[in-house]
Amino acid sequence: MKLAYWPGCVSRGFTTELHGSMALVADRLEIELVSLDRANCCGAGVIAEHNQELADTLNARTFALAQQTGLGMMNICSTCQGAQSECQQRLDADSAYRAHINEALSDEGIEYVKGKQGFENKNFLWVLVEDYGLDRLKAKVTRPLDRLRVGPFYGCYIVRPKHRLGYEEHPDRDLYLERVIEALGGEVVTYDGARKCCGFPVITMARDTSLRQAGTHVSDALDQGADCLVTPCPLCHLNLDLQQPEAMKVVNRDESLAVLHLPQLVGLALGFEPSELGMNRHIASTEWVAERLVGVPAS
């Protein structure tokens, strides 16, 4: 399996452990990733807030670069997925608009083509379930996460709005995290916040709202007995992990809960050690997760 790869900005800035663990995991799963190193930020919904056409053109550029490789495209960020899908919907909706946007790309000699054979932009989570296959993933597991109770945390941008994110064709996309956790041998923890908002988009504008959201979800997951959360979104990771000490203060609790990136959880089951996956770089301690793995051989 070979895919054009857009890692996003955050996985190369704040959360390098995500980018790193994705590389290890892709290698072990024999997924070849062709990095789109000329591509640009998706705008995270913020640029669209300023100028919709600008956001659409920036993402058309990324799609065009991916289309040049002739491969499908993979991202590792719920927010990239949502922001890019939103722009793609507008680009695909109107040929006159698309032509106008492509004008801005002509200088670079590239073009976004609607419905180009083999081109789709999918988060690693969707790739795992829809293209790689959970049976194939199971066969690669060398250290089943037997004793690990994992709470899924999706990130808004990958679950809503449904009509834009391919839910007509794949109605279970909001259940994939649960399926992956089970395929890796872990136990799914059901709690209130799995499909709610981490609060990150307003951390610099409405800090209390933002931290209260993060704190509430972590608390709920703790109350349901989670050993950790797992998320396909590095921005959710920022609010749930990096901001966790502040967030827990807002909800008056002093426990902490490890928050893993999706490739890290997969990586543990594939036999990588927590340190190889950069789990020592997190703010909320991941030691408990490592302890739960002790005694389970990673051959």
Partner: protein
């Protein structure tokens, strides 16, 4: 109620509704009660509730009137999703309740969220909905002098606000709002969509004042966490979040309102960094969101200092664990700065987009390759529906 049960061609099926009941007059807390109903799968959850009321318990309270998604009375939560009871087919609701294992779990019906319950499925929308709608001055503020005849406006400018005019005040978006869940003072999706209805109206002469007010309010347009819940919940396609983003665009870009919440500053800093670097440098964003650099010096506004100080623990933690300013080493070929002439092309894109600033609203133009609804056909523009042909 007329039922299809007697007909030989009846497709009537049995469903279980698990309803959250609350009867304050009996002094008890809320409790769950299951009702067995029999009806055609294409009839609505509201039809099911009314049947349960008629046949089993006349005290079951639900608000409804039109039964055709027009009046906005029957907002509830079905299987956790905020929606209209009359717009949700009971067969689909049953499937939704059992999508995990295809079993026969009951359809769960609850009163709307984020508002006090009066009785059973009836909520009090006064404090969390109507009061907030009044908060945004939901009427036209014109220039005062009544014209001799009507006020003439170009039709295009009214098309822009048709999406918000479609609102039926059902409160489903309010019920689903994830910001309101943690901040009950948030003005909320329905009221802010209503605000855009007047901000976007060319006859309104107080648009700037409206925007200033909503931008400065800590519970205003910058308190929306961009979660899309209201977009999925709204039965009328109003997409309140999209209207909030238009309010932000109008306040920040068009009116240049520098709000105390750092909303405009954040958006400007973000946009500028991508123009310069192509990808996001979060450390720089944090700094610029609060204090845009002027000739290398930090010039924080008083209101911004609080935010910056509040973020310091985060930033320091980030540096200590190597989260900030750490360069990727694991995959060769990834650069923190775009390679070669790529950045020049990004700049070119900025120039092109800033010149045109096109805004495409698919609610109005529709989508190609999608069969338009008969009544939407008139709205869609001829050049926007030229079939599936690809541009070369």
């Amino acid at each position: 109620m007329e039922q299809a049960t007697a007909s030989t061609e009846s497709t009537t099926q049995s469903y279980t509704l698990k309803v959250r009941r609350f009867k304050p007059e009996e002094g008890e807390g809320p409790y769950w009660q299951e009702f067995e109903v029999e009806l055609d799968p294409t009839l609505s959850v509201l039809d099911g509730l009314l049947q349960a009321r008629d046949r089993e318990d006349g005290s079951l309270s639900v608000r409804c009137s039109c039964r055709a998604a027009i009046c906005g009375s029957c907002g509830v939560k079905i299987n956790g999703n905020s929606t209209l009871a009359c717009l949700t087919q009971i067969g689909e609701a049953h499937e939704g309740a059992n999508r995990l294992d295809g079993g026969s779990k009951p359809i769960v019906v609850e009163p709307m969220g984020n508002m006090p319950v009066v009785k059973d499925l009836v909520t009090d929308m006064e404090s969390t909905h109507w009061e907030k709608v009044r908060r945004v001055t939901p009427w036209l503020l014109d220039d005062g002098d009544p014209p001799e005849r009507e006020r003439i406006v170009p039709p295009e400018s009214m098309v822009d606000i048709t999406q918000t005019i479609a609102c039926i005040q059902c409160g489903a978006c309010v019920s689903s709002c994830l910001s309101m869940e943690v901040d009950p003072d948030f003005i909320g999706p329905a009221a802010l969509a209503k605000a855009y209805r007047f901000v976007g109206d060319p006859r309104d002469v107080e648009s700037r004042e409206r925007l200033y007010d909503l931008a400065q309010d800590p519970h205003g347009i910058y308190d929306c966490t961009h979660c899309f819940s209201c977009v999925d919940a709204c039965p009328k396609g109003v997409a309140p979040m999209d209207q909030i983003m238009r309010l932000r665009r109008a306040a920040g870009d068009e009116e240049g309102i520098d709000d105390a919440n750092n909303g405009r500053r954040h958006e400007k800093a973000f946009t500028k960094i991508i123009e310069k670097k192509g990808t996001l440098d979060e450390a720089l964003l944090l700094q610029e969101s609060y204090a845009a650099g002027v000739k290398g010096k930090l010039m924080p506004k008083p209101a911004a200092i609080k935010g910056l100080v509040g973020s310091l623990p985060t930033a320091v933690r980030g540096m200590r664990t190597g989260k900030m300013r750490s360069l990727p080493k694991l995959i060769p070929g990834i650069h923190p700065k775009l390679p070669g002439d790529a950045q020049r092309h990004v700049k070119g894109i900025y120039a092109h987009a800033e010149e045109h600033h096109t805004e495409l609203n698919l609610y109005i133009t529709g989508e190609e390759d999608v069969e338009p609804e008969p009544d939407e056909e008139e709205l869609s523009q001829p050049e926007a529906s030229s079939g599936p042909k690809e541009n070369e």
